[in-house]
Symmetry: C2
Subunit: 462 residues, 2 copies
């Protein structure tokens, strides 16, 4: 899949699956003046959702995943990898579960909540946490968090990079509920001082030969706002999103939000060395900002967790390690009009309303601009809808006084630290290592991409 | 069903329906130390949701509604009337669609969105609004709104009053998206000055003999923040919640939020008289605060829309009309522990965490207190989770240092105007007409009940 990947990909599927119907409906809603001849009954198609036990479809099959997640474009069913299929997802404040991307390294495990235990290893010894204890022995907390796969936008890199060819859809905004990590650690007398680390490992590893999906998260973030989350928009997590419990790291990239949490260990640093051989692949190798062919340096400790700051520092020669994927970069996505849409200015005032969402990880997004000429001229958009603080996205709109013609519409957000989305992705030969000169660095993992040009939409005004 | 209606009613159902499984699961999650022997697979039971086209069950049947809304306790399937079945709904910020109450006067109409039109009548003549126009010709707005049936809590009235025997569950908190009414009216040159009114009628009337469900809403509220809403938590409305479009009146009781909007008319006052005969039942008769046997006075105009203010004014003899049901009264609901739950203090600190939600209609809720002795002694609860302004509920928690024993736990909220929930519902013979002396007035409709005592929970501490 190339950089030109668009909603037009939706056209590929043939059969009239539920997903197909869902997409048809979403397209209908997205396309002004292009009323498809569908007979839509009273019931919203968003009503199509997951069935627990009626499905005769095989777990790990595309059909199974399509039935459960009609709003997703599927890249692989085993493990499950899928992103939001249409732009409309990025007009709403809340992302419904069936439109929320899934990024798994192994097939989702089938877990009996009654039996599930998290092994918590401290200096003093080990303990086991049951789900009942997690739910009821500690406080309840809720937070809005825009979760994004660190590879979202990867398909726009040229030359192509390996991995799932995410376009724009591997991001969603959800209200998560769970147990504050600080309370759990304090209850067991863990040392939660600055400089400590928490190793968190997922329970999805299928056998003793495979690498364990695990992350080392700095303790200062863990105790500040991390949750053991068991609820998503007021419902239990679904299997593909980490049932019965996942790590929730507000503002940080998806890879830190370990699903099916099985092991946690308080440590003096990151996991490293032979002892952790099966655990370190995703921490030290995969989720790093690397130049092509570069071997990542393993570290026992770092002290910059804002990924953009780390990129800047590495580019400036101030640190000798390659950034780990922690905090998100500032970003925006246009939700309406969709890619290659033909729209008619509204009769009320002759404008077209451009709508999207913007977020900035740990930092508050401060402003969004929209350009209808691919980035030559910019106008300020306005925020609307709920403001849930730095971790949830903001909806924005721009009223575009649009003459008939063809346009390339882009948006760019700026965070409270004044950092703005760059225009494009650089060429590898430029050797760029951080965001500068209005460019996002090409790098081997295709991570963190927030360049606005590849995220723009071609729009025809009638 | 009597005032003592409790979660124990859940025990009635026999067959292993989806709703049954859902309730089992929710009970499991709610009951500390009482692990049922269920084998729960990896997939969250919240995943059980509505199917669009696979159901072979008949619309209007209990089985049909149970399948679509496994989180609800059903009072009638035709028309659909159902409330949240278990207390757990009131621990979360967001109410999932399948836990959001339904209160319909007729069976939900099956509507083809392509064909749907709203007739908008102005002094200058009529026009028709298509769904496409509503979605795309005007701005998009999102708002968090706690919608409550005005009869929620009705079953606690003694002597019994007529109507659906709502206990605590006819309220939900949702993020709604739609078109600002102000833009629609302005686009067509409507007079939107103070003193004008908007008549809004639903498209659910089954025949020409039946009364039309309609409301007269004061224009100042209409233009301030009302929406023509087509989305609920990022998904199209479901049929039972008003697909394709409903009136959204932030902060006001559910009856104002007319579903399947079919007609709107800008008027000089409320609909009244022979001309509006089929339209006035719910406006002038049903949704009023009445003493037993009292015939409500029909009015062409009123100027108090805060229902509590109107109750006060009528009680003081300052107005000669009976309050209409508009703005909500301040209220709170305990979500955990559930009614008749047996819980164990948490090992971390010996406390039990009492969790709930509180809201105040048009006004911000300012404080919540919790009493574990039925209201003799009070402790302040703290808010947690997202704050979306006056129209969305706030989650609260209170850490209860609980000794073993049996307790009656209640909560009461206070709004920014200093109005607090009263203790109990008065006897009819007291003739009380507003909230005073810590009592909520008994009245014939069983509306607006925010007395805390009937909403309390019996809890056993192990």
């Amino acid at each position: 899949m190339q950089g030109e990947t668009t909603d037009a990909n939706d056209e590929r599927a043939g059969e009239k699956t539920k997903r197909r119907q869902f997409l048809d409906r979403r397209k209908f809603m997205a396309a002004t003046g292009m009323l498809a001849g569908l007979s839509i009954t009273g019931q919203g198609v968003g009503a199509q959702e997951m069935e627990e036990d009626d499905s005769e479809l095989e777990r790990g099959s595309t059909a199974f995943l399509e039935e459960r997640y009609p709003g997703l474009r599927i890249y692989s069913p085993d493990p499950e990898n899928a992103e939001a299929a249409v732009r409309d997802t990025y007009t709403s404040y809340i992302t419904p579960r069936e439109e929320h991307y899934i990024r798994n390294h192994y097939l989702s495990p089938e877990i009996d909540e009654d039996e599930w235990e998290i092994e918590l290893r401290l200096e003093e010894g080990s303990t086991s946490l049951t789900m009942d204890e997690i739910r009821r022995d500690f406080s309840t907390e809720s937070v809005a968090h825009t979760m994004q796969c660190s590879g979202n936008g990867r398909s726009f890199f040229e030359p192509e990079v390996a991995g799932n060819p995410w376009t724009f859809g591997a991001v969603g905004n959800t209200i998560w509920t769970g147990t504050p990590m600080s309370e759990v650690l304090e209850a067991y007398g863990a040392d939660t001082g600055d400089g400590k680390w928490l190793m968190v490992a997922g329970g999805d590893v299928p056998d003793e030969e495979s690498d364990v999906f695990a992350r080392s998260i700095p303790m200062q973030k863990v105790v500040e706002d991390c949750l053991l989350a068991y609820e998503m928009n007021g419902q239990p997590l679904s299997a593909e999103h980490g049932f019965p419990v996942r790590m929730l790291v507000p503002g940080w990239m998806g890879n830190n939000n370990v699903k099916w949490v099985a092991e946690m260990e308080v440590m003096d640093g990151m996991m490293i060395g032979e002892e952790w051989e099966r655990y370190t692949r995703w921490q030290h190798s995969s989720y790093r900002i690397l130049a092509e062919g570069q071997d990542p340096q393993e570290n026992e400790r770092i002290d910059i967790f804002d990924t953009r700051d780390a990129m800047d520092a590495e580019a400036a020669g101030e640190i000798d390690w390659q950034p780990y994927i922690y905090d998100q970069t500032v970003k925006s996505i246009i939700g309406y009009p969709g890619q290659e849409a033909t729209v008619t200015p509204r009769s009320s005032d002759g404008n077209v309303e451009v709508i999207g969402v913007a977020w900035a990880g740990d930092d508050q997004v401060e402003a969004v601009e929209v350009s209808t000429d691919g980035g030559d001229n910019w106008e300020e958009a306005e925020f609307f809808g709920p403001d849930l603080g730095p971790f949830g996205w903001r909806q924005f709109r721009y009223l575009w006084d649009a003459e008939p013609g063809e346009y390339f519409v882009v948006s760019r957000a700026t965070d409270e630290r004044g950092r703005t989305q760059p225009r494009e992705i650089s060429d590898p030969e430029d050797g760029l290592r951080t965001i500068q000169d209005d460019q996002f660095p090409w790098e081997a993992g295709g991570y963190l991409c927030n360049a606005y040009e590849p995220h723009g939409v071609d729009v025809t005004i009638q």
